[in-house]
Amino acid sequence: MNGVDKTGSRMQDVWMKNEVVIGLVMVAVLTVIMLTLGLSLVLTILIDAAVFTIVTLSLNLEVGHTGISQFGRVLAVIAGAFVVGAVPGRVLAFLNGLPYGVSYADDAVNYKVVPAISDLLASSLPLSVGFLLFSFLLAAVAGAAVGWLTSRPAIRLKEAYLGISLLAFGDFFMWVGHNWEPLVGGTTAVFVPDPFRVVWGSRFQVVVIVAVIMAFLVYLYLEKLTRSPFGRTLHMVRDCDVAAAVCGKDIVRIRTQSLMIGSALAAVGGALYVIYAGTCTAIGFTRLTWTFWPWAYMMLGGIGSNRGVVLGVLMLTVARTLIITYRSTLFGFLLTWGIDPMWLEYTLMGLVIMLVVLFMPHGLVPAKVESILPAGRVRKAAQEQGFGATVG
């Protein structure tokens, strides 16, 4: 070990790392897709990946770094999506003398009011940017509020009980949105004012760039957060909450903070999604798409590893998009029995979860086990005790 050239081995380490290899493969795949199938498909992949990266990273903060069994991710996503579907448009409608009350969400009124607001936004860049930032801020506040609410049972309940309770309440919120029309139109979708109309000619490209930048910022923030003293406290609570309590850490407060930060970020992801889609349909926020799929992404990438999560999201998004693109050419034989190849997407996600659990329990990029002391001090202590040969 002592004889090896240090810089050389480090270089080798960088190239042997899973994340570097997979990242390069993903870039290559995206390039091939761009050259063969066109740029717009790559942009679709990127926007999907960006939205789900934000949501899955927030899930990873709670599950991977804090050890909370969060099976209600959809709850916070719904909070962000519904708030952005319901509030900012109403504020602008109120300021401009348009109908803003209960009737705003009525489908006969909504399809006239929202385009009027969008036209208004299109006329001024500062207004559009302000609208966008206001929407995200609102979503984050709503998400943090939901996170605080879910932290109440999270203090009392053990893992499985908590997971099931959160799952059930996510479903409940979806049904509230589906049934209570004044919120986001109930069974009919409510339109969301479009702050990107300012750049009408290149709207799609700009949305993708904004989304990717936001996902990157969330990644940087969480990477920094989980490496900070606060992040190490989270890991301590995750690994042994009793020991953390003995060390004087307030476990309730730490779990609450983690849930509030995670839920606020997930809500921003939901807000980004409805602004990009231009509509907000309550029934679209199912636990399958917004809880289970982020779980699958996270498990493939590696629970507790932020880089792994980003790669997991990217890989599965590419795979899903390719299945949808090639479903009639590659899987067209299914159509002879009338079977829609669309369902292969479900099979793919299910198989990924099963295979990861069986053969790759730590994911593509396993989270590093970090020692509390620097490695050098551990080695020195071990040598003093005479364990030098076995450690490091």
């Binding site: 499985a160 009980y161 049904w175 079977i339 829609d340 996600m349 659990v357 329990p361």
Partner: protein, 312 residues
């Protein structure tokens, strides 16, 4: 019998079977079985296919439905659960593995529905099973036959685990798997048996519930929170608690919606799922270990008091 009670009884019987199955799997294998959702839906589609293609009452097909569910359970055990248990995986990993299995089963259900629609010109995506029902004692057959079948199945289960040698081995493994192993019980067979029974109960439960509600490919997917609610209400420690919890949750939903709709207005129908969730939330807030946990605490306290009384 009023209509809400008739369909409520059929639904509650189905929910008690599924909740019982979830509880059984949890106490034997520590697995929260998400695949219960699609196993239940498959149970319904077995009955539907049999009834539509070969005629007769839906009840003829219940045994086949149980067997199919048991088969799905066995596959889940042999492919996934067995290896994870051997590896001593944690609860969350066990839970996620069944979620993956559930998604695959759901995909197959959807493909099967596509096949039925295309090749046999059926309409399997919105099924009202009650049209195939028979009339019995002036009320729907489902409200009589299904609760009775549920009671029969659960009695058989009770006899099986209390009166047979294998049942005793099962209980021993549940109580203390290490000691049971030391005394020569093969826990592998016990786990397999609980997947057979749990999967079969899930399929039966799904077939039961379809007699009271619209049968769709997402029948299990939409009702799984209530199955869990029933199991949690029962406390997840006792099989009988789970069965009772499922029944209470199911009947409370139908009764609650009926009386609330009469009092407040029909708009509450959209929020019917709030009732079982509220029951679950209140139970968990008051007794974080469920009703069986509360019962055990109460019995424990009473026993403690008695003991102290004796000493005094």
């Amino acid at each position: 019998m009023p209509a809400w009670l008739a369909s409520g009884l059929a639904y509650a019987s189905g929910l008690s079977l599924t909740a019982g199955g979830i509880t059984l799997l949890y106490i034997t294998t520590r697995t929260f079985n998400f695949a219960h959702a699609s196993m239940a839906t498959w149970g319904f589609y077995v009955v539907y296919t049999g009834t539509v293609l070969y005629g007769g009452t839906p009840y003829r097909w219940l045994p086949l439905s149980f067997l199919f569910g048991a088969l799905l359970g066995v596959i889940c055990y042999l492919v996934l659960n067995r290896h994870l248990l051997a590896r001593k995986a944690n609860t969350i990993t066990l839970m996620m593995s069944t979620l993956g299995y559930d998604l695959v089963l759901l995909a197959f259900i959807q493909m099967y529905c596509d096949y039925l629609t295309y090749s046999l010109k059926l309409f399997p995506r919105r099924v009202t099973m009650s049209v195939y029902d028979i009339e019995l004692f002036g009320t729907s057959g489902a409200s009589v036959i299904l609760p009775l079948t549920a009671v029969a199945v659960l009695s058989l289960l009770h006899l099986f685990i209390t009166r047979t040698k294998f049942g005793t081995a099962m209980r021993a493994t549940i109580e203390n798997s290490l000691l049971a192993g030391a005394s020569g019980i093969n826990s592998d067979w016990v786990y397999l048996a609980s997947w057979v029974i749990g999967g079969g109960m899930a399929a039966l439960g799904g077939a039961f519930m379809a007699m009271a509600m619209t049968g769709t490919p997402v029948l299990g997917m939409t009702t799984i929170p209530f199955m869990f609610a029933g199991a949690i209400l029962g406390g997840l420690h006792s099989l009988y608690g789970g069965i009772l919890g499922g029944f209470v949750v199911g009947l409370a939903e139908y009764a609650g919606v009926y009386f609330l709709a009469a009092e407040v207005g029909s708009w509450v129908l959209g929020y019917r799922m709030a009732i079982p969730l509220l029951i679950m939330a209140v139970t968990l807030m008051a007794f974080p270990q469920g009703l069986a946990g509360a019962w055990a605490t109460m019995v424990g306290r009473a026993a403690g008091l008695r003991k102290r009384g004796v000493e005094a």
